[in-house]
């Protein structure tokens, strides 16, 4: 059974059982829709991570041994920071912060202790015995802060800002939204007249997810509204507007419905699914409607059935090919390292498959039942667009060499911008500079060296001087090599201070002692003169630890810098400590840095793979490598040009934007497929190549144009995004889809007219 027989059988089924088909689709939609209201959002990090990744595994160890690897920093800014009233208020804030469910420990001047040398060795004393009531007490407090080395760490150099560092008790197993809500409620209760600044990677993540949800609520209706408006102008009829629209709506419901039936949750990345489907899923319907109208106009006496039969026979295979290529581009995401990206690839492909099936079943069933728009029979047509398209075709074939040279020059120039393309996924940069989040992060970064933490997990006999020295060497190496690392804290700092204190505070003795028993003795002395919980974050056991962690503070979350630190540190460990106790970088920021690069690299690979698969499919379809190349070239060139343009405009590539490039590959090839398929059809019907190009523009040009415009208009909804890069990327996708469209409507006529490829005449 060949494809033509299938399309005929399909038409017979559509023509004889239209009401049954419509009713069945509605019933299935209700069944799928049944589970949509119960679909759960999953903002958690854990479900989206590759469980077998070594950083994820080490984060789980850190969670178990110490606490979570993320921190919360609250900075308080006041001109009278050390007044009795302010300190009393902030002491109360510390208590409230510690009582938060997600916080395991809070570090601030209110509970910090420091080592004071004395005749018997050293004493451990709190920085703040009691809140000072007079100027003498204030002066003593400032002196103790200076001595303890807390200036620049917990109090800013100008003594106007003080910070609280909260250790979050888990890396994954908590609700980041709830955490953010609790923190802000608390801060709002205490703020005024003091200014409070909150910064934490989990809070930034939660804000990003919340804004994405808000974006989805805005995007979907805006995108649908704009598409409806465009379809109204294009087709001027209910059938032309709402049949593709219903296909989109049903495919979105079916896609979310299947998630519900399979008990899948909706991750933040899944919020992009409706936008993608709105932009892509109406394409097939647009081609059917466009050809149906064109054939009606060209043969007003033919019955609806005859016109439909002709339409399905002519557009069935090209829209099948368009659907398959789009699905291939998304299915390539199955090789992605992130489970959520794989899931999205599969779900969008499912949505596209449904859109294709509904387009060839539902749309003809409705068209069989309803009368044709009356303006078609009146002979009033959209002749302006028709004549413009035909003139374009003639222009591009007549001046083919000039057109091709000009396009090549522009293409090469834009493609060269790719060398300036940067990868950066600093979540802060998603927000405008004026946003509260960025202001707080900048403030904390300036005063305390940042709010993001990287951890290095060390395993072994921790009090062994050799291991301690390795920790010191590694920490010094990282701090000297990477400017982004502003501070570090580890057990080595404490032992060195104790050793110095034991030697009368001699700074020259601030070194790691060689005697392991002495170190044990120091630790014992420290534990008896303090509460004993000071080392909860850095030692798994105070007496005989087998794990410790080094904490590194980062100025900001620059993922490329983090990735560099990880790579350099791994090389350093491998070169210097390969036969010694294991040390590995871990923590949320480390994971973010490594994963982002992994994701974007994976995305590039899947892009290249999908382009080659599409080239292969097209070569088989046209039974010619040249045919495959012609179908793939405009799309591939557009992708490269888009990346080049991003490079010139200094727009960085991040996870969201790299995922959206799938659309470009999937959709970009549609226009060329339709053009080449119909061109070959016209040549087969006996037209000369130039006549065939003109007829392709006349019959199919409008479908291709409206299809491209609907994608551009659909993506214009991204301009309403809260995120700066998404807005910019919206413009870029609109631009690059226009490149693809122009590629199909300008490059292909010029190229085919110039080269006269043999596959068109087979």
């Amino acid at each position: 059974m060949n494809l033509r027989t299938i399309t005929n059988a399909l038409f017979e089924f559509d023509a004889h059982y239209p009401r049954t088909i419509i009713a069945t689709i509605i019933l299935i939609t209700v069944l799928f829709g049944w589970k949509v209201p119960g679909l759960e959002m999953d903002p958690g990090l854990r479900s989206g991570l590759p469980r077998d990744h070594k950083i994820v595994q080490s984060m789980e160890i850190v969670d178990e041994l110490f606490s979570g690897s993320d921190i919360l920093i609250v900075a308080v800014d006041s001109d009278s920071l050390f007044s009795t009233k302010t300190l009393t208020k902030l002491f109360s804030f510390q208590d409230s912060l510690e009582s938060l469910e997600q916080i395991s420990k809070v570090t601030s001047i209110f509970n910090q202790k420091y080592i004071v040398p004395d005749n018997n060795g050293f004493e451990i004393e709190p920085v703040l015995f009691e809140i000072p009531r007079d100027s003498v007490g204030h002066q003593q407090l400032i002196e103790r802060l200076d001595k303890s080395g807390m200036i620049g760490n917990l109090v800013s150099n100008d003594y106007k800002t003080l910070c609280f560092i909260g250790q979050i008790n888990s890396s994954f197993a908590y609700d980041e939204f709830e955490f953010r809500k609790n923190v802000y409620e608390l801060v709002n209760r205490f703020s005024d007249p003091e200014y409070f600044y909150v910064s934490s990677l989990p809070i930034t993540r939660a804000t990003v997810v919340e804004y994405m949800q808000r974006d989805m609520r805005v995007f979907t209706p805006v995108a649908i509204g704009l598409c409806i408006f465009l379809l109204m102008l294009s087709f001027r009829s209910w059938t032309g507007v709402f049949l593709p629209f219903f296909v989109v709506g049903f495919s979105i419901i079916w896609t979310f419905g299947i998630m519900g039936w399979l008990d899948m949750s909706l991750a933040f990345i899944g919020t992009l699914i409706p936008v993608m489907l709105v932009a892509i899923a109406n394409n097939y319907g647009i081609h059917i409607i466009s050809h149906y109208y064109e054939y009606t106009k060209s043969d007003t006496k033919a019955s609806r059935g005859q016109i439909l039969k002709r339409t399905i026979r002519k557009v069935g295979i090209p829209i099948l090919l368009a659907g398959v290529t789009t699905m291939v581009s998304f299915l390539c995401l199955l090789s992605h390292s992130l489970p959520r990206a794989r899931e999205m690839g599969a779900l969008v492909s499912f949505g596209i498959l449904i859109a294709f099936i509904l387009s060839i079943i539902l749309i003809p069933s409705v068209l069989v039942l309803v009368p044709r728009p009356h303006f078609l029979s009146k002979g009033v047509d959209i002749s302006f667009i028709d004549s413009l398209l035909v003139k374009m075709g003639k222009l591009f074939t007549r001046y083919r060499s000039i057109v091709l040279i000009l396009l090549s020059i522009v293409g090469i120039y834009l493609a060269m911008g790719i060398k300036y393309l940067k990868v950066d996924t600093n979540p802060d940069h998603y927000f405008p500079k004026s946003s509260t989040l960025r202001i707080a992060n900048a403030k904390i970064s300036n005063a305390f060296g940042g709010s993001t933490q990287m951890n290095i997990l060390v395993e072994g006999d921790i009090f062994d001087p050799k291991i301690l020295k390795n920790i010191e060497i590694l920490t010094d190496h990282i701090k000297n090599r990477h400017d982004i690392v502003t501070k570090s804290y580890s057990i080595v700092d404490v032992i060195k201070k104790m050793h110095s204190g034991f030697n009368g505070g001699d700074t020259l003795m601030e070194i790691i002692p060689d005697d392991v028993d002495l170190i044990h003795q120091y630790m014992f002395m420290y534990s008896i003169s303090s509460d004993g919980d000071e080392f909860d974050l850095i030692l798994d056991d105070i007496e005989d630890p087998s794990y410790t962690q080094i904490l590194l503070r980062l100025e900001e979350v620059q993922t490329h810098a983090i990735a560099e630190i990880v790579e350099d540190t791994e090389q350093f460990i491998e070169a210097n400590f390969y036969d010694q106790s294991p040390m590995e970088l871990t923590g949320g920021a480390t994971l973010l840095g490594v994963l982002n690069h992994m994701v974007i690299r994976g995305q590039f690979i899947s892009l290249v793979v999908s382009v080659f698969i599409i080239l292969f499919i097209m070569s088989i379809v046209f039974r010619s490598f040249i045919g495959g190349l012609l179908a793939t070239l405009p799309m591939a060139a557009s992708v490269v040009m888009m990346f080049g343009l991003m490079g010139y405009l200094n727009i960085t590539l991040n996870i969201t934007t790299s995922l959206l490039t799938c659309i470009l590959v999937g959709v970009g090839v549609d226009y060329t497929v339709h053009f080449l398929w119909h061109l070959r059809d016209h040549v087969k019907d006996g037209d000369s190549l130039d006549e065939a190009i003109t007829n392709t523009f006349r019959i199919s040009g409008k479908g291709i144009l409206f299809n491209g415009l609907s994608v551009v208009v659909g993506f214009s909804a991204l301009l309403f995004s809260v995120f700066v890069p998404v807005r910019i990327f919206g413009i870029l996708v609109m631009g690059s889809i226009s490149f693809c469209l122009f590629g199909a409507l300008a490059t292909l006529p010029a190229l085919t007219s110039l080269t006269k490829p043999r596959f068109l005449f087979k």
Partner: protein
């Protein structure tokens, strides 16, 4: 063939309606109107679902305009804008008057 098509589709539509009624009856997310005045309900809907209300309104307008286009052979774009501006039902009344005048 057409009779068979009508019969099967009617059965399927009945099943669909039954399912919808069942879903509505077991839903626990339905807003409780007990003890609330119409004004309260109106304010609640405006406060929480204004965007949805507007979308549904425009959607209904478009469907009525589509009906008018296909049934009375009117221009879809004009009818849609008239429908959105003057409420969808008024379009039917306008058309009804036109038919009577003729």
């Amino acid at each position: 063939m057409e009779h068979k098509d009508r019969t099967i589709s009617s059965i399927i539509i009945l099943i669909t309606l039954g399912l919808l009624l069942y879903a509505f009856s077991i839903s626990d997310t339905v807003y409780s109107v007990e003890g609330r005045t119409l004004k309260d309900i109106f304010i609640y809907l405006i406060d929480n679902y204004l965007d949805f209300i507007l979308i549904i309104y425009v959607f209904i307008c478009f469907q009525i305009a589509g009906y008018v286009e296909l049934k009375y052979k009117q221009d879809f774009i004009t009818t849609s804008f008239l429908s959105i501006l003057f409420t969808p039902l008024s379009i039917l009344f306008i058309l009804q008057n036109e038919v009577e005048d003729d």
